[in-house]
């Protein structure tokens, strides 16, 4: 009998992850700046379909995560699904759960499969921080709206005349918590202080992230997940790898960087935080039996997942500490049974805070557990680096982490893998995968 809580009573069928693929991740304003969320999503989905030899006609749904909304295409998932490779009847929706948006897309798709509403689903996410919408100020918008409603040319001129010079300054969305007004960086800084995370520890984690990612790039494990981009503009050199990974970075170089969010007493620097990034990623999910009937070999099955939340004013990025025990309990597993842990690295300070939380009795009790999860074996953690080195396109990261975990679990012949993702709003996500 299958024990997977996600199997559902009587269904006996698991949700299989067939494969995942992503674009290279590029620092915002660099190699991928000409591609928007929809283009990045299309590239990832198209390559996923080709690589898996999937019959596009079998796809039931597509769901994609993104964080910065597009005003012109409010449901980018549908725009992606309307690529000519897919039939027009693939229903699609866009989800947003901050940095766990792609995870939300994946769990939505998995839920649809378990509910019996779908058997083949594409889930993923994309973000283009090179293409953030720039907004007009309130005053400018008011004047434009008034002008469009004007009945006479004179009224129109009068409406426009109300514009003041300060109204012309555009508004860019900041990555700040609406409830606390804290930026993400300030939150990470606060967490470092609360949890006593040193600058050295953060820099060491960042260094490990870069070296792990560089190793994965050099030996091809990481690049195997990446589709080549053939730029239409500028250089014609194919883009085949992430451009934020620094193989040659050293502890000394990282130590030289100044703190960004608290210049006097801070420890969070550009070197130990994830950069603003463009990229897209997609994962193919299928009901186990349907995959096998189609001749597709699953790489892994979803064993369990969990979301959790806490007060954003407390420790904004600490909710994975609440989600992970829940996911493991739902999976019927303990941390020592986990072969690999992939933890999204928004900030090194956040990763170290989360790891500390895993070992804390206080956090265990908050999570409703009698004892802590325990210490994560660092040799099993983010073995090909993480978001600090690879980059973090908000909407895409969850699918990137899923793909890496699935592939590396297979390579290492491990049975179970755990992933966690922290997200704005005090949200946390955890998922347990089982190698096929």
């Amino acid at each position: 009998m299958r024990t997977s809580p996600l199997g559902g009573p009587g269904s006996g069928q698991r949700v299989a992850i067939i494969d995942g693929v992503r674009t290279p991740f590029a620092k915002a304003g660099t190699l991928l700046k000409h591609l928007g969320v929809i283009e990045l999503g299309k590239l990832a989905v198209s390559e996923l379909i080709h690589r898996t030899d999937l019959d596009p006609a079998s796809v039931d749904l597509l769901t994609f995560g993104t964080v910065i909304p597009s005003v012109l295409a409010p449901n980018p998932a549908r725009e992606i699904a309307l690529m000519p490779l897919l039939p027009k009847g693939v229903q699609a929706w866009t989800v947003s759960r901050a940095c766990a948006s792609a995870n939300q897309a994946i769990t939505d798709a998995a839920d649809q499969i378990l509910l019996g509403h779908a058997t083949v689903a594409i889930a993923g996410g994309a973000e283009s921080l090179s293409n953030v919408p720039i907004l007009h100020s309130r005053g400018f918008s008011d004047a434009l709206v008034a002008a469009s409603r004007a009945k006479t040319p004179i009224q129109r001129v009068q409406s426009l005349a109300a514009i003041r010079p300060k109204d012309l300054i555009p508004v860019t969305p900041a990555i700040a918590e609406p409830t606390t007004g804290e930026t993400m960086g300030q939150s990470a800084e606060k967490m470092a202080k609360l949890n006593g995370i040193t600058r050295e520890a953060q820099d060491a984690l960042a260094l490990a992230s870069h070296h792990g990612a560089a190793q994965g790039t050099a030996d091809g494990r990481l690049t195997a997940e990446i589709l080549p981009i053939f730029p239409e503009r500028g250089s014609r050199t194919p883009i085949t790898a992430d451009n934020g990974i620094r193989a040659d970075t050293t502890a000394a170089q990282l130590a030289k960087l100044s703190p960004v969010f608290d210049r006097a007493y801070g420890t969070v620097t550009a070197g130990n935080a994830s950069p603003l990034t463009d990229g897209g990623a997609a994962v193919l999910l299928m009901r186990e039996d349907v995959a096998k009937a189609a001749g597709l070999t699953p790489k892994a099955y979803i064993r369990s997942y969990a979301y959790a939340a806490l007060d954003p004013g407390e420790q904004l990025l600490q909710a994975p500490v609440l989600a992970a025990p829940l996911a493991l309990r739902r999976a019927g597993l303990t941390l020592d049974q986990i072969a690999l842990v992939e933890m999204h690295e928004a900030f090194a300070a956040q990763v170290l805070s989360n790891l500390q939380g895993f070992e804390s009795q206080r956090w265990a009790e908050r999570a409703g557990e009698s004892k802590p999860l325990g210490a994560v074996d660092r040799a099993k953690l983010n073995v090909m680096g993480g978001s600090v080195a690879i980059g973090h396109p908000f909407g895409a990261t969850g699918a990137r982490v899923t793909t890496t975990l699935v592939n590396e679990l297979a390579r290492r012949n491990g049975q179970f893998g755990l992933m966690t993702v922290c997200a704005a709003g005090g949200l946390g996500f955890a998922m347990v995968l089982e190698r096929a």
Partner: protein, 719 residues
């Protein structure tokens, strides 16, 4: 009466709606019986005072009227016969134009030739807003001019300039453009076409819309050129100069069309129509018209013949693989994407794929530049081509076309690699121009699935595709390749596997003899000029420069090896190739090219390479033409005798669409028929006495000539 009729009538509140739906045909065509039926209805309606207006609408979705049924043209015995048919058309159009009942045409789909002439005579032209709704006068493509008043009414409606553009090119004009030109009155959504047509007919009947009215928007320029005698004279003169230059004076319909348009403004209306009828009559009996009609029938017949036993089912091709991202591979990928077919595009290194994708985008961008497609459509098409340097994504592909380097070893590696990843029933097509398919198939574990698809460069422009079958090729594999070729818009002939297949095989002696002429001291430009005058789009040396001397040299060597003394080596050609002059791509070949790639004339350095030095031999254009054409024609007959081509029809289509053999001469086999096989044999024998090999007439041809046979029936439908 139980006879099926083309028209059906319903009268709604004083407006007669005639629905045209020709039984047993996919499109509506005008034939004498249809015209009789129509005029019968017209007479009936004219007498019925309750009927105040009429609408003509098509009962066939997506097509209005495709023009006259050209079968009737075959029955013309003299120019007078044809002129009378034209005059008959004039009478009917005049009746529509001046009758009591105003007629509205409601056009959805193609409105061509006689269909457009009919629409021009109507009182109101309403068009549906669909991409298939196009207007054209394609008569010129058959060596004719519009014969039912088109050359008279069109310039009066849209001006001389726009009318000549349509009449001389036969091109399609979409509804939106037709509205801009003033060709039509209004565009509406197809779902309300009939309803609005009836309303407009009523408004015409009530005088709310005047029957005679201008639909053209005039600009200062159009006023000066279209609306004054001097302006029109300038336009007509320039049109003639340009058209004669482009056509080389080989197409009498071009000057005739210009003369007919001139007559529309020169004297009385009836004199104009009389001129049109007279010129139409002359053209209908011309050899050019006869050959162009033949090509029309031949290509139509070919479309119904996939070269496989009846009932063979082609595999469904929902995506393709292309291996090799060179110019050919990129061209194949681009035309497939244009038809909405996903392509997995593979080469050994991503840098090569990137270069190939850049060419794919260049081809696709042409559509964007010409505004045939939107930015969105362009991006969709580009998105259909996904590049890879590994064989991922080939596991479900039903058809792969390899277009890698022309090297048997490389091709063998690719075949073996592909068979590791492809589904067992996939079709493995090889795009080669020189290597026999059977040789390539030697590396295959499933040779029945291997076939040749010989595309011509540039793929997106060249209309022909040779599908090359080996004795082992399975019929459904052939059917799949043919079906796919047609889907991407190619004219497809199925040929048997032999060196050079068909097209390159008949080209080889032609090129070789052109080289021999150089050896004899004939100048490059004299040869190119003579062959252009014969009707080829370019001369042989221009062709070689475009193809590339390296490729031409390699191909020539293979053909010489296969066909011995029929492909004679040319010292001059060899020397130019050996001098490393690569042709256009290398910036120099027989001609020189400037930095922008513009040709600057024959490079005199070439003459220093001649075996005879700068010695010059003058040879008449006629002598040059016969030397080259007869070498080609003789080889074409051998191809038929050897079973390389299945029929003279395929041989003619292959030569016209693959090489540019003058369409107005029909092709090599039509050329033999029109010249006389006996005459061809004696010309060949005369040339063989001096030049041997390529001119020795094949046994097949001499037997054919001795029996006074022709390749095609001399009367009636040619194919």
């Amino acid at each position: 009466m139980t006879e099926l009729t083309a028209l059906s009538l319903s009268v709604e509140d004083g407006i007669a709606v005639l629905t045209f739906d020709l039984p047993g045909e996919s499109v509506n065509k005008f034939s004498p019986s249809v015209i009789e039926e129509f005029t019968g209805y017209l007479a009936l309606l004219e007498q019925d005072q309750a009927v105040r207006g009429a609408v003509l609408i098509s009962g066939k979705p997506g097509t209005f009227i495709a023009g006259a049924d050209i079968d009737q043209f075959l029955a013309f015995r003299s120019a007078d016969d044809a002129a009378q048919a034209s005059a008959f058309g004039h009478t009917m159009m005049r009746r529509i134009e001046t009758g009591r009942i105003p007629l509205v045409v409601a056009v959805e789909g193609a409105c061509l030739g006689g269909g457009l002439e009919f629409a021009l005579a109507a009182a109101y032209r309403l068009a549906a807003d669909t991409p298939k709704t196009v207007f054209s006068l394609p008569e010129i493509k058959l060596g004719l001019i519009p014969g039912a008043g088109g050359t008279q009414r069109l310039p009066r409606r849209i001006g001389v300039q726009a009318a000549l553009d349509m009449i001389l090119t036969g091109k399609n004009v979409r509804a939106k453009k037709a509205k801009q030109l003033g060709l039509i009155d209004e565009i509406v959504h197809p779902s309300i076409l009939r309803e609005v047509a009836i309303r407009r007919a009523r408004e015409l009947a009530e005088g709310k819309i005047p029957r005679a009215r201008e639909t053209r928007r005039r600009t200062t320029m159009s006023r000066a050129l279209d609306d004054t005698a001097v302006g029109r004279a300038i336009v007509l003169r320039q049109a003639r100069q340009l058209a004669m230059k482009k056509s080389g004076g080989n197409y009498p319909a071009i000057p005739a069309a210009i003369d007919a348009v001139r007559a529309a403004f020169a004297g009385s209306e009836s004199a104009g129509y009389a001129t049109e009828a007279r010129l139409f009559g002359q053209l209908a009996m011309s050899p050019v018209c006869k050959e162009l009609m033949f090509l029309f029938y031949a290509t139509t017949a070919l479309k119904k013949d996939a070269g496989v036993p009846e009932g063979t089912v082609a595999a469904k091709v929902d995506r393709i693989g292309v291996v090799g991202s060179g110019f050919m591979g990129a061209g194949i990928a681009a035309v497939s994407a244009q038809q909405g077919i996903p392509v997995r595009f593979k080469d050994t290194a991503l840098e090569r794929v990137a270069a190939g994708l850049a060419s794919v985008r260049d081809v696709l961008r042409e559509g964007l530049t010409r505004k045939h497609i939107t930015r969105r459509e362009y991006e969709d098409r580009v998105g259909l081509v996904s590049g890879t340097a590994s064989y991922t994504g080939f596991g479900r592909i039903p058809l792969v076309i390899e277009a890698v380097f022309e090297d048997l070893g490389v091709k063998h590696i690719v075949v073996r690699e592909l068979e590791q990843v492809l589904p067992a029933d996939a079709v493995l097509a090889t795009n080669t121009s020189t290597i026999p398919i059977a040789r390539i198939a030697e590396a295959s574990a499933r040779p029945a699935r291997v076939i040749g698809m010989h595309f011509f460069s540039p793929v997106h422009k060249m209309p022909l595709l040779e599908v090359v079958v080996t004795p082992k090729t399975a019929p459904e594999v052939t059917a799949t390749a043919v079906e796919f070729g047609r889907r991407i818009g190619k004219t497809v002939i199925v040929v048997n596997d032999a060196p050079g297949f068909y097209v390159n095989r008949i080209l080889a002696p032609y090129i070789a003899e052109a080289g021999r002429l150089l050896d004899e001291g004939v100048r490059v430009e004299a040869i190119d000029r003579a062959m252009r005058a014969f009707g080829f789009p370019v001369g042989p040396f221009t062709l070689i420069d475009e193809v590339g001397l390296d490729i031409a040299g390699k191909s020539g060597a293979i053909m010489a090896e296969a066909f011995g003394d029929r492909i004679r080596s040319s010292e001059a050609l060899a020397r130019v190739v050996a001098a490393g002059r690569l042709g256009r791509k290398g910036g120099k070949g027989f001609y020189g090219y400037d930095e922008k790639g513009k040709r600057t004339g024959v490079d005199s350095a070439v003459y220093a390479l001649y075996p005879g030095g700068a010695r010059k031999t003058e040879l008449s254009a006629h002598a040059i033409q016969q030397r080259l054409v007869l070498a080609m024609v003789n080889e074409a007959v051998r191809c038929l005798a050897d079973g390389v081509v299945r029929s003279p029809r395929d041989g003619d289509i292959g030569a016209v669409f693959g090489i540019g053999f003058p369409p107005f001469r029909g092709g090599p086999f039509r050329y033999i028929d029109s010249t006389g096989a006996g005459e061809i044999v004696s010309r060949l024998e005369a040339l063989a006495a001096t030049h041997g090999g390529p001119y020795v007439p094949s046994d097949f041809l001499t037997t054919h000539a001795r029996a006074s046979r022709t390749f095609y029936p001399p009367t009636g439908k040619p194919v």
